[in-house]
């Protein structure tokens, strides 16, 4: 039983991490779009660069939600009902963003969709960061449940992580655009990305200095997971530093991959640090929701393991295949490369 509970803690983390690393770049591109483009075809280039992928990337979120439901039903019930308003705002953000990507090209009025794309991408990134920042720091859970109130997520750790994730995603998105776009626009993105690297490093440094996990009374420094957490954070910092090296030498796709790895390790650090808690209480460990006290039955965990082990590799395989098939470059000055 314990084996499967640990396995599902790992898989649960992996699904969230996959969501951050994939949807992160299209959320980032959505935030950056209005600021890097000076005309409509440049905006269209941005949308075309993420257009084929954002929906498939977002399915990682649905899968993470579904996996939480199936593997840790009470954690799912608590997390989603306690964070009711933030989750509602996250949903609205994702709704207006996704629909804007799809419908912008089919209407005459562009302004409203541009605002939606920015606002949806920004609030979704910030809210995700704020929510996980709070989980990493621990949230006030008492005998009656969550005591944080309506604006409970907007504490120091929440805001710090929210801003950090927003910045990381922006950087990640710029690197994706750099990889996909060519022509004069590429030069503009290139200079912005180089500049943004410093902001990203600054945010990561702040995040590591004021580490939300350090506020979590449940954080076990001297345990296997505690050491993993330190290792992951170190690797994420190294990856971020290497992004700069790749970027300076003009290895654009490599710099995107390194940023992908940076986000993976950064998020993995958090999940390793909060192990085995899905919802850590900072009041009393008795109120922790853990992989062990919130899991499904052994039988369900086994069924779900079989499903995950069969389908997740297949999904990753065809997702990579489709990325490769749509590996063409986009140039705002060449209308034949702009579909939407």
């Amino acid at each position: 039983m314990e084996f499967f509970q640990v396995l599902w803690y790992v898989l649960w983390s992996v699904l969230w991490i996959a969501y951050f690393a994939t949807d992160g770049f299209d959320l980032g591109a959505g935030m950056a779009m209005n600021f890097i483009s000076s005309n409509d075809s440049q905006k269209r280039a941005v949308i075309n660069a993420v257009g084929p992928f954002w929906d498939g990337n977002e399915v990682w979120l649905i899968t993470a939600g579904g996996a939480t439901f199936a593997a840790f039903p009470s954690a799912y019930a608590y997390m989603f009902s306690w964070l009711y308003i933030p989750l509602f705002l996250l949903l609205i953000s994702l709704i207006i963003r996704g629909v804007s990507f799809e419908l912008r090209g089919k209407t005459e009025i562009k302004k409203i969709w541009d605002i939606f794309i920015f606002a949806g991408s920004f609030f979704a990134s910030f809210l995700l960061g704020a929510a996980f920042g709070n989980l990493w720091a621990g949230i006030p859970v008492g005998p009656q449940g969550y005591l944080g109130g309506l604006l409970g997520l907007l504490n120091f750790s929440g805001i710090l992580t929210g801003i950090s994730l927003t910045v990381f995603f922006c950087f990640h998105g710029l690197l994706w655009l750099l990889h996909k776009i060519e022509g004069n626009f590429k030069e503009i993105i290139y200079s912005k990305a180089k500049l943004f690297w410093y902001i990203t490093v600054f945010c990561l440094a702040l995040f590591l200095i004021f580490l939300p996990l350090s506020k979590n009374p449940n954080f076990q420094k001297n345990s296997f997971s505690g050491w993993l957490c330190v290792l992951f954070y170190a690797l994420s910092a190294i990856s971020l530093i290497s992004v700069k090296k790749a970027l300076d030498r003009g290895f654009v796709f490599l710099s995107f991959l390194l940023s992908f790895i940076f986000i993976i390790f950064w998020a993995a650090g958090g999940f390793a640090g909060q192990y085995p808690n899905l919802i850590p209480s900072n009041l009393d460990p008795v109120f922790n929701t853990t992989a062990f006290n919130s899991s499904s039955s052994l039988y369900t965990l086994k069924i779900m393991s079989a499903v995950a082990l069969i389908f997740v590799p297949i999904v990753i395989a065809y997702q990579i295949w489709v990325y490769k098939l749509l590996n063409h470059k986009i140039n705002p000055e060449d209308p034949s490369t702009l579909h939407y």
Binding site: L61, F69, M79, I95, L150, T300
Partner: protein
């Protein structure tokens, strides 16, 4: 107004809104896949144009369908946390599988289909639309099996204060699930087919691209006639399952108050809920109700009085929705058979017929919504039939203001989406094929 009422209202509104777009997705994607296949096989230019034309309408519809789906998955945890805790061990499984095995397929390959024109081989491009069709149909399978568990729970035990899965095979062999799946999927094909027929009819009436639109009309009419008949066949199986597994729902659908054997089917009925009787009951077809419920003319049909008042669903709404749905179902069979016959005889140019087909576009949508009212209102007061009441399923920690806030938010955003989506579909549908 309490949290329970508002949460029910919110789920009903968001699910009904989502389901304005889902059936069209399920149906039209199959027709678009057929059109593209015909282009691939014949090389005829009009099949390509039709694929792109209906493909565009499909994409507008899909955009809204896909984004409004996540809020349903999340609402189980947000508004129905007691439910999620109690049945998550089972109910979470099909939802997680739906995302892993179906949503990815649908979303990843839709991206490839939209952006793959002229960039990938025609074969792989054709494959991508079929994978989207398979993915979306598979997602319907999983979510309907999740729903089937709420209607007819199987393969479980009650342990540690919750429902636990004991037999995944039994869960997947839930007869209720398979019948519900086919009934719903064929109904969705009717939505898609009426959509294609109605829009084709409009352009035939306007004498624009008549050759192409006669082809799409013909294709959709065959698809529709087959589907409408299948909806009827599986609807009949479904009724039998309901009378077997959910007798209180069946009694409400037919407004039967007294348990009876060899029951007749009154064509005209007016239920009187408070008086526990029917004010009007006329034109009775002998033995018909027993046959509908059990195949046996002398079979027993349970009446509503068999159940305590607090365990009966709202009778009038369930009954009226069911009757209207069935009536529409028969209308669809008639209209689709007529369509097949007229397009076979090449006599599509009858303006009255074409106008009827244009104005029929919303009817299968309506029938779908009515069907879900029967399924969900008819299950009340249960969230999981016989196991958990809706009133026990709601999140204990929510406040009225929280749910009011989200309900108002959904109302505003969905009104905008609905307006934008239907306006764009209408605009592009009327514009027709660009030459």
């Amino acid at each position: 107004m309490d949290v329970l009422f508002l949460s029910r209202l919110q789920f009903a509104v968001t699910a009904a809104f989502h389901f304005l777009f889902v059936p069209m997705t399920l149906g039209v994607v199959v027709l678009v896949a057929f059109m593209q296949t015909l282009w691939y096989k014949t090389g005829e230019e009009y099949w390509l144009k039709l694929t792109k034309f209906f493909g565009k309408l499909f994409l507008i519809n899909f955009a809204i369908g896909v984004v409004t789906g996540i809020s349903l998955e999340f609402q189980f945890g947000m508004n129905w946390s007691a439910y999620s805790k109690y049945v998550g061990d089972i109910f979470g499984v099909p939802l997680a599988i739906e995302a892993t095995a179906a949503f990815f397929l649908e979303s990843v390959f839709l991206g490839l289909w939209i952006f793959g024109w002229d960039k990938i081989s025609k074969r792989v491009h054709l494959l991508s639309i079929w994978l989207v069709a398979i993915g979306s149909n598979l997602s319907a399978l999983w979510i309907l099996f999740a729903n089937a568990f709420m209607q007819n729970p199987v393969g479980y035990k009650i342990a540690e204060g919750r429902v636990e899965l004991t037999d995944f095979a039994a869960f997947m062999l839930n007869p209720y699930g398979w019948v519900k799946f086919f009934h719903t999927i064929f109904a969705a094909y009717c939505v898609g087919a009426f959509f294609v027929m109605g829009i084709s009819a409009y352009h035939i009436l306007k004498k624009r691209n008549v050759e192409a639109f006669s082809k799409s009309f013909k294709l959709a009419s065959y698809f529709c006639a087959f589907s409408a008949l299948m909806v009827f066949v599986f609807g009949d199986f479904h009724a039998k399952d309901i009378s077997k597994y959910q007798p209180s729902k069946f009694a409400a659908m037919e407004s039967v108050w007294e348990t009876q054997k060899g029951a007749g089917y009154p064509i005209l009925v007016l239920p009187d809920e408070s008086g526990e009787k029917n004010t009007v009951e006329a034109l009775k077809i002998p033995y018909m109700l027993s046959i509908l419920a059990t195949y046996d003319p002398f079979g027993e049909v349970k009446g509503l009085k068999e159940f305590p008042k607090e365990e009966r669903p709202p009778v009038f709404l369930t009954f009226a929705s069911f009757r209207a749905m069935v009536g529409l179902g028969f209308l669809f069979i008639a209209l689709s058979l007529l369509s097949v016959w007229l397009s076979w005889k090449n006599k599509l140019e009858n303006p009255v017929f074409l106008k009827i087909m244009i104005f029929s576009i919303p009817l299968p949508y309506l029938a779908m919504q009515l069907g879900w009212i029967v399924a969900e209102v008819g299950r009340q007061p249960w969230a999981v039939y016989g196991l958990l009441k809706t009133a026990q399923a709601v999140s204990p920690n929510l406040s009225v203001s929280q749910v009011l806030f989200s309900l108002a938010g959904y109302f505003i955003v969905y009104s905008f989406l609905g307006f934008a989506g239907f306006y764009l579909m209408f605009k592009n549908a009327v514009k027709g094929i660009e030459n």
